[in-house]
């Protein structure tokens, strides 16, 4: 299984409440809140597709789309319990 490559972040601006959780905990500082307090990907090229933003969003408002196909589910690494 190769490294997942980012296609895009889909951010649902209607659902995002601007809590900043995805922004703060992104290990690569990919995300920011814009002037309307909605999450946006400002440096998508740095994204490592860990999906932590997607999994921690309380509003189901952010999705990390990878290419070419969906990679293994995040649960594979879950047993470490550090996150």
């Amino acid at each position: 299984m190769g490294k997942p490559k980012l296609k895009e972040h889909i951010i649902n601006r209607e659902w995002c409440k601007g809590c900043g959780i995805c922004v703060h905990f992104c290990p690569k500082n990919v995300l920011e809140l814009d002037e309307n307090d909605k999450a946006v990907a400002v440096i998508p090229e740095e994204c490592i597709c860990c999906r932590l933003c997607e999994l921690r969003c309380p509003d189901l408002a952010i999705e990390v789309i990878t290419e070419p196909s969906e990679v293994s589910e995040s649960s594979e690494v879950s047993e470490t319990s550090e996150v």
Partner: protein, 266 residues
């Protein structure tokens, strides 16, 4: 199926405040169910009353939104009549352990097959920030303006003592672990308790000057550790996370089925 197929999209954006940990519990639960691959029609979610209990409105399973504290009693009725269904019972800490405390310990003692999720934000969110049995000594709440003198329950110890056959704890920060323990709890045959420490920035956070959702999640990150870790020996203040109990003991509905067989022959 994508997780969007498990929700009632028409009710989104949901009613929870910005940064409310209950939304992260919903997120993790949907992933757990998706990864197990259970059909939506085989799941019944039963909830009581509270911000946490509103979760049942957002999922596209069979759902029952019942009375404050009584979710486990309704769930017991559903499970006894349709034992083949998977029961998931999310509750607030007040719902589960104040008004619903008696239902909680007896459901655990019977070992009836269902997954109880305690969405523990240490406060009554829905009604405006009154203290709960999980607030803990020295905390502030609208009903404890001069500080709370009640000691807290330890949900894990309580569940173990009451006889639950699967007991785990995690937090809204530890999403990978949340998904993992929820999967294990749902697959376990017997009464499973998953305590999830979750943030209520609006009341618990504000009343106790803990900052917003981000700071409260940082707290979960920095003040918890894996069960049995060396860190816990060095710093006993740390809260342990992980699976505490997993045992195979006779399950209530299976035993009841045997009683029916015996009575029918007799």
């Amino acid at each position: 199926m994508a997780i969007k197929d498990y929700i009632r999209e028409r009710f989104f954006p949901h009613m929870w405040c910005a940064g409310c940990g209950h939304g992260i519990v919903l997120n993790g639960l949907l992933r757990a169910i998706e990864q197990i691959g259970i059909s939506k029609n085989d799941i019944v979610m039963v909830s009581g009353i509270g911000c946490s209990s509103r979760i049942s409105g957002y999922v596209d399973f069979h759902t029952l939104h019942t009375l404050h504290g009584r979710a486990l009693a309704f769930a017991t009725g559903v499970k006894m009549s349709r034992p083949e269904l998977k029961l998931i019972v999310p509750m607030g800490d007040g719902d589960a352990l104040a008004i619903g405390g008696n239902h909680f310990i007896h459901a655990a003692r019977r070992n009836i097959d269902m997954t109880a999720i305690v969405m523990n934000n240490r406060i009554y969110g829905m009604t405006g920030g009154q203290y709960s049995p999980l607030s803990g000594y020295g905390t502030s709440a609208t009903t404890a303006p001069y500080s709370n003198i009640d000691h807290t329950f330890d949900v894990v110890n309580l569940s173990v003592a009451a006889g639950a056959s699967f007991v785990a704890r995690t937090t809204a920060y530890h999403v990978m672990q949340m998904i993992s323990v929820l999967k294990q709890a749902i697959l376990h045959k017997g009464f499973s308790v998953v305590e999830i420490l979750t943030q209520c920035p609006t009341y618990f956070g504000r009343k106790n000057k803990l900052g917003g959702a981000v700071e409260m999640m940082e707290y979960f990150k920095n003040n918890t550790t894996s069960v049995g870790s060396k860190a816990k020996q060095e710093n006993p203040e740390l809260i342990e996370r992980g699976v505490f109990v997993r045992k195979e003991i006779p399950e209530y509905c299976s035993e009841y089925e045997k009683i029916i067989q015996r009575a029918t022959i007799g």
